[in-house]
């Protein structure tokens, strides 16, 4: 093995080794687990740079690990695409780890937390670095498992357990889809290695490719929270804030974007798949943004914004504007991590208060959080010259260029809505007077349980401050990579060149940019008028109460996605649940029954009811089965 190969192997396995180490020696390590855990992610980040040159060379860096059975060999592959993801996972992920040392400072289970986090990073690296579909599938499954552990980390909160279950369930649906895709491709091409499959992509039957693409996309939709499999994402905010940042910014939810980009050769030969994925991406962007308007929980707003931004990325890679979609992933990783970490500082300082209505006027008290949030907001709404401006523009224009003007239009409208709800969050949180002491009733907040504030000493402020401060820089400048066309050139080997479209010649890119900006400006102005202006801040309490009480129902209920799933699957299942409620831990029941999309719950009861315990009944079932058998055999016997 060459030196490069060893380095790649080391950077892949280091987080796993650290996870095992921390898990084994957790009680002894306590807070130093955080240092080890962060190191185990930041060192691979440095190592990745070492490999950058060879990854960018022809064909990337390939390491063959072992042959499994004929047609299944496992290896690692670092090419420009996986290089980018590895850098973000380890870089942004590493900063989030450092931040988490401060955030989890007084949590007794800090060691377990870092073990999970490192395991998560390892799973994500497996997903990204694998050179074949089986490795991808393994990583894909492990990521889901790790997220389940992390979202449910505070297992004493029933809502956290329920949210973890929901995330896991939806992920399993996605895994099943992806597994099916892998094996359709295997059946069609006889291999699971990317290289082999993609080489044969053009020769496959269109129907096979479409089937594979749809199945792959079911996996992507579940992982990347695309409609209608998005409902787990907002609930997943029950985990500690660093987890939200890690899942949303750097890793898990962008796996779908990675996979679509990775499978570009498949999408290139299936226009139907392309239209489907692009459309779902655009719709997700729109729905996520609209739902973001109606939220009061700061983390849920960010969750919906993630969903919406991932929608942009999926739309980008879906329509074939791969570079644009990936660019949006690149910039989003920075500003979304920053937004989450800044929100985490606020939440931490307010003892786990997440409701915007109880905030207000925090700008002066927490200047770092305020500025971080402001820069993050400017970046996410696409304000020039912040990073999001370039990437969002690229996606919208990319869709236009490739002949999907309607999707572009949705993108433009969404940009306006994004500006509105993000500024709403910013203004309500940081401007005006603090409403922390205003009674809940006055703010229109329905009766609720307060989570217990956790006491204990705090970490030095810089532990949480430094990562936020560092992230400010790329949040501003990351988009500048587009200058000089270097970004597109970087991935030239991965993706086919873009086609010329008639529309693109009529509408130059700068014009589209101006239109987008107009919508953004409208969104900012509207938000300022409602929440940021002097009038609005003076009468904030009354306005917020009025808004809370008059919120449009479809928005509050998140367009009834959960209700639909509930009515279709969950309610029937609940009946079963109550039967063993007394036996099992009620938390578990909540998790398993109430919130789980439990397809077959009621059938479970039916099957059980057959089991009456009576011997004769069983004998009857036997005889009926035998009769069915005999009928069939008599039929085929007679037909000969």
């Amino acid at each position: 093995m060459s030196n490069d190969a060893l380095v790649l192997l080391a950077l892949w396995l280091l987080p796993l080794a650290s996870a095992i180490l921390i898990f084994a020696f957790g009680p002894m390590l306590r807070r130093s687990a955080g240092v080890i855990g962060s190191g185990a992610v930041l060192v691979p980040f440095a190592l990745t740079w070492v490999l950058a040159a060879s990854a960018l060379g022809t064909g990337g860096l390939k390491v063959h690990l072992f042959d499994w059975i004929a047609g299944f060999s496992f290896g690692l592959w670092l090419d420009p695409l996986s290089l980018l993801w590895t850098l973000i996972i380890t870089g942004v992920g590493g900063l989030i780890h450092v931040y988490a040392i401060g955030y989890m400072w007084s949590d007794r289970a800090i060691a377990r937390f870092f073990a999970y986090m490192n395991f998560f990073v390892f799973a994500m690296l497996t997903l990204v670095l694998s050179d074949n579909f089986v490795g991808l599938l393994v990583g894909w499954g492990l990521v889901g498992l790790a997220s389940y552990f992390l979202i449910g980390f505070w297992f004493f909160k029933p809502s956290a357990v329920a949210a973890a279950m929901k995330a896991f369930v939806i992920n399993v649906v996605g895994d099943a889809g992806l597994m099916f895709a892998v094996f359709v491709l295997f059946a069609a091409t006889g291999s699971t290695a990317y290289a082999d499959v993609f080489a044969k992509a053009a020769t496959l039957a269109p129907a096979t490719v479409l089937l594979a693409c749809i199945a792959i996309f079911i996996g992507c939709a579940a992982k990347s929270a695309q409609i209608p499999l998005h409902t787990w994402l907002p609930d997943a905010m029950e985990g500690p804030t660093p987890v939200s940042a890690l899942i949303h910014a750097a890793t898990m939810v962008t796996a779908g974007v990675y996979l679509v980009a990775r499978c570009a050769p498949l999408w290139d030969v299936s226009p139907e798949a392309r239209a489907l994925v692009g459309t779902i991406g655009a719709l997700t962007a729109l729905v996520g943004a609209i739902l973001g308007i109606a939220q009061w929980d700061i983390k849920r707003i960010l969750a919906y914004s993630t969903m919406s931004q991932i929608g942009y990325m999926i739309m980008g890679v879906g329509v074939g504007a791969y570079q644009a979609g990936i660019l949006h992933f690149f910039t989003h990783a920075f500003f979304k991590a920053q937004l989450f970490l800044a929100a985490g500082i606020v939440i931490h300082a307010l003892h786990d208060e997440q409701d915007l209505r109880k905030m207000g006027g925090l700008g002066k008290k927490m200047p770092l959080a305020f500025w971080a949030m402001t820069i993050g907001t400017l970046a996410i709404i696409g304000f020039p010259p912040f990073s999001g401006f370039f990437s969002k523009d690229a996606v919208i224009y990319g869709a236009l260029e490739r002949g999907y003007p309607l999707l572009s239009l949705i993108g433009v409208v969404t940009a306006g809505i994004t500006a509105y709800y993000m500024c709403r969050m910013l203004f309500v949180t940081f401007l005006g007077n603090n409403r922390g002491n205003v009674p809940d009733v006055d703010l229109g907040i329905p009766a609720r349980e307060h989570s217990e504030p956790h006491f204990g000493e705090s970490a030095p402020a810089w532990v949480m401050g430094a990562p936020v401060a560092i992230l400010m820089v790329p949040s501003v400048v990351a988009g500048w990579v587009v200058f000089g066309g270097r970004w597109n050139a970087l991935f030239a080997s991965d993706f086919a060149p873009k086609p010329e479209s008639a529309l693109a010649t009529v509408l130059p890119e700068w014009l589209v940019g101006v239109v987008v900006l107009a919508f953004v400006a409208w969104g900012v102005a509207a938000a300022y008028h409602r929440y940021g202006s002097f009038d609005a801040t003076v009468s904030a309490v009354e306005r917020l109460r009025a808004e809370s009480q008059r919120m449009a129902q479809p928005l509050v209920r998140a367009f009834y996605f959960d209700d639909a799933l509930e009515a279709l699957f969950v309610r029937p299942a609940r009946a079963v649940g109550s039967a063993f409620m007394r036996v099992v831990d009620p938390h578990v029941i909540d998790g398993v029954v109430r919130d789980v999309v439990w397809l077959a719950g009621w059938i479970g009861r039916e099957v059980r009811a057959l089991q009456t315990g009576l011997v004769r009944g069983y004998a009857l079932v036997l005889a009926l089965g035998a009769a069915a058998f005999l009928a069939y055999f008599a039929l085929i016997g007679a037909s000969r």
């Binding site: 439990w598 059938i603 035998a626 069915a628």
Partner: protein, 480 residues
Amino acid sequence: MPSTLTIPWGNADWNAILPLGVVALTPLLVILADLLLPRSLRRSVVLALAALGLIYAGFLAARGWGHPYSAFGGGFVTGGFTIVFQEIVIAGALFSLLLATHLGRDDQAGGAVALLLWSASGAMLMAGAANLMTIFLGLELLSLALYCLCGLAARPSAREAALKYLILSSTASGFMLYGMALLFGATGSVQLSAFAAPAASPMLFTLGSGLFLIGFVFKLSLAPFHIWTPDVYEGAPLPVTAFMSVVTKAGALAVLARFAYAALPQANAQAILVPLWIVAALSMIVGNVGALAQTDVKRLLAYSGTAQLGYVVAALAGTTSLGLRYAIFYLVAYMFMNLGAFAVVALLSREHEEGSHLSAYAGLGYRQPVLAALMTFFLLALAGLPPTAGFTGKLLILASSVDAGYAWLAVILIVGTAISAYAYLKIVLAMYARGAGAPLQRALHPASALPWLGVAICAIATFVLTFYPLAPSDVLPLVK
């Protein structure tokens, strides 16, 4: 009419059944030891003797690898296929012995172990049986001993299990036997090898095949013939349940595979087997859905077994040679992950109470972290998640069933897998949930060193098999 009586058997005939003979004769030593030894020594000596007998038989069987031979006028064939299944039976029986640290009272141990070995010898006979008589003999030997074993625990539910198993299984045997009679009538021969020729009466042949298959589908507990399984598994003593979940299945699968691959006339073989794929599909759904609602781990594993055997049979769809290899691989994987889970249940058991109720698992993750982690691993394996042998096995089965043109089975397999994740996860959640209901502070059974050994071996095997899907490649030519 032969005028002089000559013994038609050569030495090779005896050699072919030698492993089987060792397993069938060891019980005599076991019973003798049980009779002569003081009570304090009995259980350990008896277990050791039985284990030695099984290991020796395993060694003898392995020696026959690469020497296919048809003994007793074609009644029993040995060679690759037979040996693989015999080794699976032996391994399954050995693991069950590891769990047998409290099977029955001390003064029952000898008898129980003897019955277990006789039952295993029946399964070993089925593994190599190539005519209807030996198949019937093997099946009954396996079953009769099991009826007794089921009733061994000193509680009403065990006796109930024995009665239910006796009546239902005998009924299934009756169906099968009548099927055998019809097959004989249709072809004029009891040899499986004679069936491949076009039958004199196709109607009799197909009806006979149908009835014959029912007997084995029942033993494999495929839906809807699984209906006895949960009750019997729950009631029977734990080691017996573990034994049934592997050894019975291996024996029945051997016969089924031999019948499907080697005994059917080419013309309508696939048509005759269609019901088999349908019950496999039903099992994947019914087994996994049934498992969802269970609160007793043994019951849950019963339903899970139905689903798992559904996967195994699905691998045979289309009767491709690859399919048979993958079915065997999955059976081996199933043996390890399933017996691993049973071994954990054994570790949680006490003298008069088996640790199979879900409440025994509440908070286990905090009281016995290692055990809980291993149990989680086995459950993930059963659910088919990586990195476990269950995952590899399922992937292979998916590949083979699509290859053979049975994509619909693959789809159902995926759906079933997705459902099963919740059933298994319920136990995992119970183990790691903290809070309501003070967890029962129960210590592990003092005599629990043996199940630990089982847990360890199963865990290692389940993990290692993920990466080395050993499917014996020269199995197929030896089926006939």
